[in-house]
Amino acid sequence: MTGPLIQLTGVTKILKGQEEPRTILDGVDLTVDPGQSVAIVGRSGSGKSTLLSILGLFDRPDQGSYVLAGQDISRLPERKAAKLRSSHFGFVFQRFFLLKHLTAAQNVAMALVNGQGWLPRRQRRTRVLEALDQVGIAHLAKNRPARMSGGEQQRVAIARALVRDPRVLLADEPTGALDTETGTAVIDALLSATTRGCSLVLVTHDRDHAARMGRTMNLVDGVLTERVPA
């Protein structure tokens, strides 16, 4: 496929609360090519997470269009959106959101046991171990989250995001709860996915991590601008 994988045009999101409506995203344009890594930086409350929610089909834009791989998905019904989330997206959050009663392997398998198609147990196991191996923690497959460090838990979360071979990885402050060294290792793991053609959109406060991405976008009061390297 040629052309951009993600194309947002004039995306606007307005928060309609009890007070005056507040514009969270104001005519955002964003293009992400296959295999490209993009960092989105900005202050707290600038709309980064809202932008990621729209990219990940958690939310819909009030105005503007969202084209994914040539298909307009701005107004996708929830059932189709769920299917697309499963097939095209992988998510990594600041908090790892691992289920403490499941092992690392079972947490990763969660993305495969989601009602979107069915994989036999043996194939599931192979895919899970491959994903854990990609992030270097296949040996921890049988461990529960309580017995793992923060970095290891985040790697499990990344393996969960990668296990379905997504076309886009969306990461929301994935290093926010980690020390610098562990955070760097996590970014390494995320970037390694881009070498296999997966695009990465990273929301971060950390300038060093942002600098490692192919592009950096700045979001200020709902307006997205490209930051040109100095």
């Binding site: 929610s53 958690f58 929830e78 769920a82 299917k83 998510f91 908090r95 993305a111 046991v113 989601n114």
Partner: protein, 425 residues
């Protein structure tokens, strides 16, 4: 077998994981539901056992369900027509009712009228002629009066008479001149407590007979009764005397419904001017009408107890969903459809309901076994009683209903959890 779809299998796997992760909560839900399901199992088991016992008693007294009973009115030709029609047939038999006194000749029986031995005042010792003129009878002596039932074939095909001791009437042998009798338990009681000579008087007989008692059965009758082969009786009582047109009982013909006997017999009887009435034995229908209301009342009470259990599951389910908001939001983020989230919660409550049903059925089986062991000897209803499968089915249905009802609202809540929860956390 068709395999479950991916969604069902996913719901089942995640449901089992959820139950394993929250064992205590599942146990508490099961405890709250247990009494309700157990109540349903007990009511259903009780109703089924009572129904079986009642059915068994009804069949014992009146015959197997579906048997056609033709009452042939007393007439001097009735025995002959019936005997000729049924000759050589195995699909029908005739039952002729008479009275017999066994014991000392020329005395009145100790139980006039063939009354039960612990009851008096059934009949009188007066002796009456065919015109109905009665005179005081002879003094009471060592003789027992029984209801005598002459049968033309194997009655066990139509009535489940219960063997007590000895043998049943053998129709494969040549008719004996000494009529073989099979007596019921009440008659056996009389013969046990009274030593009587083996001489049998039957009205209309050419001479007194010497009977031989070959067995004892339980026929559910409170009256002392003896069963005899009709051909052994007719060695001594002319066929025409078997049915007294003035005082005799109707001859009963038992046959299967829709068989040829009914048509042939009724045609012949009509031609001879003899009335007959056919009745189909429908014990189950009659009994179900009686039991319906009782079962409804008890099941309603059990349903109320079950409803309390459902409230327990509902309560625990809502609390659990409240605790798992992030998990469900995360599952939605990785592509799990809302319907499947609802399915996961329903699978958990359904499994809880089924586990509870299993426990309640197990308790029911064990309880019945213990009851049978403790009270079986004094209470025939509980002797060697088997756990009715209907109670098991009712328990499983109750478990499923409780699971669905208790899980429905939590499932809706789970399906409505906003996906953005994971972003805001």
């Amino acid at each position: 077998m068709r395999r479950l779809s991916g969604s069902y299998r996913s719901a089942l796997i995640i449901g089992i994981q959820g139950i394993r992760a929250r064992k205590l909560r599942t146990l508490l839900s099961m405890v709250s539901l247990f009494l309700g399901v157990l109540a349903v199992v007990v009511v259903q088991a009780g109703a089924s056992i009572a129904e079986r016992a009642l059915m068994s008693d009804l069949e014992l007294r009146s015959g197997y369900d579906g048997t056609l009973m033709i009452d042939v009115m007393p007439h001097e030709k009735s025995p002959q027509i019936v005997t000729e029609t049924l000759d050589g047939r195995t699909d029908a038999l005739a039952v002729i009712s008479l009275q017999a006194i066994i014991g000392e000749p020329g005395v009145s029986p100790i139980n006039p009228g063939g009354s039960p031995f612990d009851q008096t005042g059934w009949g009188s010792t007066e002796v009456c002629d065919d015109a109905g003129n009665c005179v005081p009878g002879p003094p009471t002596g060592e003789a027992i009066e029984v209801a005598l039932t002459a049968v033309t074939g194997d009655l066990l095909k139509f009535r489940p008479l219960r063997h007590v001791s000895g043998n049943w009437l053998d129709f494969s042998t040549v008719p004996s001149l000494s009529p073989r009798l099979v007596i019921n338990k009440e008659a056996a009681k009389g013969f046990e407590s009274h030593q009587v000579p083996a001489e049998m008087r039957v009205r209309g007989a050419t001479a007194n007979m010497t009977p031989q008692i070959v067995g004892v059965i339980d026929d559910g009758d409170v009256q002392p009764r003896a069963y005899v082969r009709q051909d052994e009786l007719t060695n001594w009582v002319p066929a025409g005397k078997l049915s007294d047109p003035n005082m005799g009982m109707p001859i009963q013909v038992l046959t299967g419904q829709g068989g040829p006997v009914e048509q042939i017999l009724t045609t012949k009887l009509r031609a001879a001017g003899i009335e007959s009435y056919a009745n189909l034995i429908e014990s189950r229908k009659q009994m179900e009408d009686q039991l319906k209301l009782m079962r409804l009342v008890f099941l309603s009470m059990a349903g109320l107890v079950l409803l309390i259990g459902v409230a327990g599951i509902l309560n625990v389910g809502l609390a659990t969903v409240g605790e798992r908001v992030e998990e469900f939001a995360l599952r939605r983020a990785v592509g799990t459809p809302r319907m499947l989230l609802a399915g996961i919660v329903l699978a958990e409550t359904l499994l809880t309901g089924l586990l509870t049903a299993g426990a309640a059925i197990g308790a029911g089986v064990a309880g019945l076994k213990v009851l049978s062991m403790l009270l079986g000897s004094s209470e025939p209803l509980l002797r060697d009683v088997q756990f009715p499968w209907e109670a098991g089915v009712a328990g499983i249905i109750a478990g499923i209903i409780a699971g669905v009802l208790g899980g429905f609202i939590p499932a809706l809540r789970a399906a409505g959890i906003p996906i953005a929860t994971v972003m805001r956390a």
